[in-house]
Symmetry: C2
Subunit: 366 residues, 2 copies
Amino acid sequence: MINTSFILRNTLISICLAGVISGCSITPHQSKTLTIAQQGNFAAGGKVIQNAGQFDDTQLFNPQGQTLHGDHASVFYQIPEHARPYPLVFLHGAGQSAKTWGTTPDGREGFQMLFLRQHFSVYVVDQPRRGQAGQSTVAAEVLATTNDQAWFNMFRLGQYPNFFKGVQFSQDSTALNQYFRQMTPNTGAYDEQVISDAMVEVLKKSGDAVLITHSQGGGPGWWTAIKSNQVKGIVAYEPGSGFVFPENELPEPMPSATGTLSPTPVKMTDFQKLTRVPIIIYYGDNIPTEKNGYAGQQNAGQDNWRVRLKMAQLWVDKINQHGGKAQLVHLPDMGIYGNTHFPFSDLNSEQIAEQLSQWLHKNKLD
Amino acid sequence: MINTSFILRNTLISICLAGVISGCSITPHQSKTLTIAQQGNFAAGGKVIQNAGQFDDTQLFNPQGQTLHGDHASVFYQIPEHARPYPLVFLHGAGQSAKTWGTTPDGREGFQMLFLRQHFSVYVVDQPRRGQAGQSTVAAEVLATTNDQAWFNMFRLGQYPNFFKGVQFSQDSTALNQYFRQMTPNTGAYDEQVISDAMVEVLKKSGDAVLITHSQGGGPGWWTAIKSNQVKGIVAYEPGSGFVFPENELPEPMPSATGTLSPTPVKMTDFQKLTRVPIIIYYGDNIPTEKNGYAGQQNAGQDNWRVRLKMAQLWVDKINQHGGKAQLVHLPDMGIYGNTHFPFSDLNSEQIAEQLSQWLHKNKLD
């Protein structure tokens, strides 16, 4: 029962990590098993609220005098054998949870597994007021609003009910079913400061890390790096909001079919914190640009991203103007076509992962 | 870098699994690493609701004509190397999520890890309308009600602010902080049928399994076994509700300080399905019974369990009367003291896990 392929692979990893073979990466299929050194869960950050009065233990569910612990992040982490120095800390976007990084809608391994196999420690977060971190200090209504089709369009799978030609999403109905069921609501109002405060606490437990965000997680991502010097690099997939600019150097707001995208003004001292670490932003395909002549012809879901891609480019330029090292990658410009709003779980996710591995390596974050 | 302790352990496991050493179990500390063959996430079950009208993609968030996928369970699973034939499928209780089975409040490995180390495949579920499975087809209000102290008492940590003498819960303040932050609300009304319907679908993906429930998960657990013959055994930690009895053999309702506990009437043909598989129920300490003379002296949180322990004993007797194989273990009667409502994550959780391993082995479920 002795697993000789394990021994071989283990030896190869040792050689790689010893730097004997430069730039080497272990292809995920060489060994199907994954050895975990440690795994677990923790809550990070949050606050405690208290009701006035005296707790009466003969009326257990009378709130007077009682407390509530809420607004923390919930984290699941795995540390592989021979873990690289910086963990990857993943923060999902709107309507999502840690599951975003798990199994892809069409059933393949997600970034959580792909990067564990590459010997990164992986921390996947449910942000405050979401998923398993649902205990909020502010009340909310959860409306069972029918909006699958809106997300289908907004996430650039196509124009419902049609998928875009060449889209990197499985057209097997089980994939769309899994994708829709990955969504989960806010249990308290969305708040970038509450989220980034909790993320600062996550990093105190994970140690210095590379922060990887998606979509609405972009804004909290920048704020986390402003608040904490434990962020050593930021990777943002399709950031959707929270573009922070120096308060005296704001770009014009950008109207779109889904509302106006406005920059967030911040103090220069805060903005400059974002020039300290390498940053990369990725956007996928089917986003209208002046160059591709789609302006005016696209659907509302696509138009949402037109202004975000534009704002993100201004943001990257601003970061670099102030001495930073930010980069924006528009995947079709690199010959990578068909990506939706979720490049990391699209059909070509292994190619997207390889892009990320190379960036991490180039920036000495691996 | 060749890990000889891995080889030794791997060989020992092979000998154990070959049955050469009877009843052997691998102590969790022999090797710190854990080898995973497969890991991932999926949504199971649920329904789709649709709003009347026609979807208008120029008004993305107008719900007319749109659908919503909700009421599914969300599952995270891990399959270890040399996995035993039946996976363990874990269903949490009220105000909890899959995290219940993860790291204990005081930072030790939970049942998820302990049983993975024992080579069981482990599936941890967020039930419909909870945690990462938050997308519900019915709306709800999430109230940020202050109720930490109620749960402290209800979960039998003590009588707030005092812990019970000898309680199996860490009195380090970080443990209580983690414990309170493990709670997460319903995002739609609790419904035993919605939950058990989704659990049936979970089992279609996991394969025949042993179902392990906690607290409010008890009722959905019995219903899952009524609906699906893929349940091969049931382990219920402190079941709190949903005690199903044949409709013509109902025990009297039992009043308590937290309300009246009533049995759930079911058809005899349904009840009899529960006589097909081995069932074990565990209750911990500090529950008032006539025997221990606490009746009338206990706090409301404890009194809640007085009637549940009593009802559970009647239930076990009823199952056995009808040809089943159910057993109730009241841990103090076995000389195991101090357990709270969460025996599997208490300080003596390894002893509780060993109890479970022995029961699984005795019932040929391992």
